[in-house]
């Protein structure tokens, strides 16, 4: 149900153009999960600390929980669902699965977004660079080793 102060926005979401009304204080995370049913992005801390809600906005990783949805008018948003290539897991996503970088899975969407962005900017990052890209993504299962392994494996596969 729309109200008088709802804001109409148009954004590109996972490569398709969407028009939607949002509330003045609604976050992009709420819009994605409750409005579009894209529940890949997770609400962890809702404070920008845990990284589970991270999406690409105009190609850069940002926290959807700290982004007011109305400011996304005219922008390009990619969630973990949008990383799929022809309906299959991307090289980076598949590497997370193959390397054992996915355990409970709660941090995985944010991690997949961060590492996808890293590999676009730096196709052959060293482990320090990978760890820097992962800072701000809390994983309580893996100890991060397998996630770093996955990024290396994906970089290698993409380069081969």
């Amino acid at each position: 149900m729309t109200e008088s102060n709802d804001i109409p926005i148009r954004l590109t979401l996972n490569k398709s153009l969407k028009s939607v009304f949002c509330k003045p204080t609604e976050t992009l995370l709420s819009l994605l999960r409750d409005g579009f049913g894209l529940t890949g992005s997770k609400r962890g801390c809702n404070q920008g600390l845990c990284g589970a809600c991270t999406v690409l906005i105009d190609g850069k990783p940002m926290r959807s929980c700290l982004t007011i949805a109305a400011t996304c008018n005219g922008r390009d948003v990619v969630t973990v669902e949008g990383l799929l290539e022809n309906g299959k897991l991307s090289t980076m996503q598949q590497a997370l699965v193959d390397s054992g970088g996915v355990q409970c899975g709660f941090c995985t969407p944010g991690v997949a977004i961060a590492l996808t962005s890293l590999l676009r900017e730096d196709p052959k990052p060293d482990r320090t660079k990978i760890r820097e890209a992962l800072s701000g993504h809390l994983c309580r299962c893996s100890g991060y080793i397998k996630i770093v392994d996955a990024a290396e494996a994906a970089a290698e596969k993409a380069g081969s």
Partner: protein, 294 residues
């Protein structure tokens, strides 16, 4: 969220000031990294969000003809961290910017948002005070400029009056070509500082030319003492002077106990971090001195 809550994206600063002057509970929305986090935590419920993203050039970083660098309020931390036009003591700004939060936060957060939030444990308040920066403020009553050390007033409080907005931060040139070191102590990488030290040190012929040391996380605003800094000028940098300087700063501190450390712990950290920051800056000066003569 109240039923009257509104969102707007004005395209001029005059319009922003006009909206702010009419509503004390309106808030400017820059990157969202602090404001939206506080809204999500239920600490703040603005009646209006005034997005600044449609205002032209508010995020520009510009080298001015006089050697100063003007940083627009909407400049993102990552853009400031990567800006290569800072020289000498101006580099304390980029040294601090690259230590703010995490990559995704640095893609969002802005210098204007950070200084107006005025968290004394944040990185920019300490850094812009050490840089002798000037904050340009626009209001419905006109424009004014305020030195960084006068901009911060209390915990999460600045000199901004209702109807005013900080539009840019100007970093003055540093002819002494000082070295800088930003020493940040955190329990976890990317967190707010338990204690941070921004140091600018310029030396020539073995004596100090420029000496500015500002400490964050130990009081309601960045701690600085120009009188105690002046003692160093024209003399070699001596350990005993640094010890006395730290003791003098301690008298200006008003630390709190929180999850990042007790007040006592902060006061124990401070002299160690000051000493470390100055030693690193001094080592850097020696390298650049020998580079010049070689």
């Amino acid at each position: 969220m109240g039923p009257g809550m509104t969102f707007s994206e004005p395209e001029t600063l005059d319009e922003v000031c006009s909206l702010l002057s009419k509503d004390p509970e309106a808030r400017c929305l820059a990157g969202g990294a602090s404001l939206v986090a506080m809204m999500n935590a239920g600490l703040l419920a603005p009646t209006q969000l005034i997005s600044l993203r449609k205002i032209p050039d508010l995020g520009a970083i510009t080298s001015m003809p006089d050697g100063s660098v003007k940083i627009g309020a909407m400049a993102r931390h990552n853009d400031v961290a990567a800006f290569s036009g800072f020289l000498g003591a101006q580099r304390i700004i980029s040294a601090a910017a690259c230590r703010i939060g995490h990559p995704a936060i640095r893609n969002m957060g802005t210098i204007g948002g950070s200084i107006c939030h005025a968290d004394p444990s944040a990185d920019y308040p300490t850094a812009i005070t050490a840089a002798d920066a000037v904050v340009s403020i626009l209001g419905s009553e006109g424009a004014r400029q305020v030195a960084a050390r006068d901009f911060f007033v209390d915990w999460l409080e600045t000199t901004l009056e209702q109807g005013e907005i900080a539009v840019s931060v100007t970093i003055p040139p540093d002819p002494s070509n000082a070295s800088v070191h930003y020493e940040k102590f955190t329990r976890a990488d990317g967190d707010f500082a338990t204690v941070s030290v921004a140091a600018c040190l310029g030396m020539s012929d073995g004596v100090v030319q420029t000496f500015r040391v500002v400490v964050g996380g130990v009081a309601e605003k960045p701690v600085r003492s120009p009188e105690d800094e002046a003692v160093f000028i024209g003399r070699p940098l001596k350990d005993s002077d640094i010890v006395e300087f730290s003791a003098a700063l301690e008298a200006l501190c008003n630390p709190i106990d929180d999850m990042r450390g007790s007040a006592d712990y902060r006061l124990k950290l401070m002299p160690r971090l000051i000493s470390r920051a100055l030693k690193r800056a001094q080592a850097d000066q020696l390298v650049s001195d020998s580079g010049e003569t070689a």
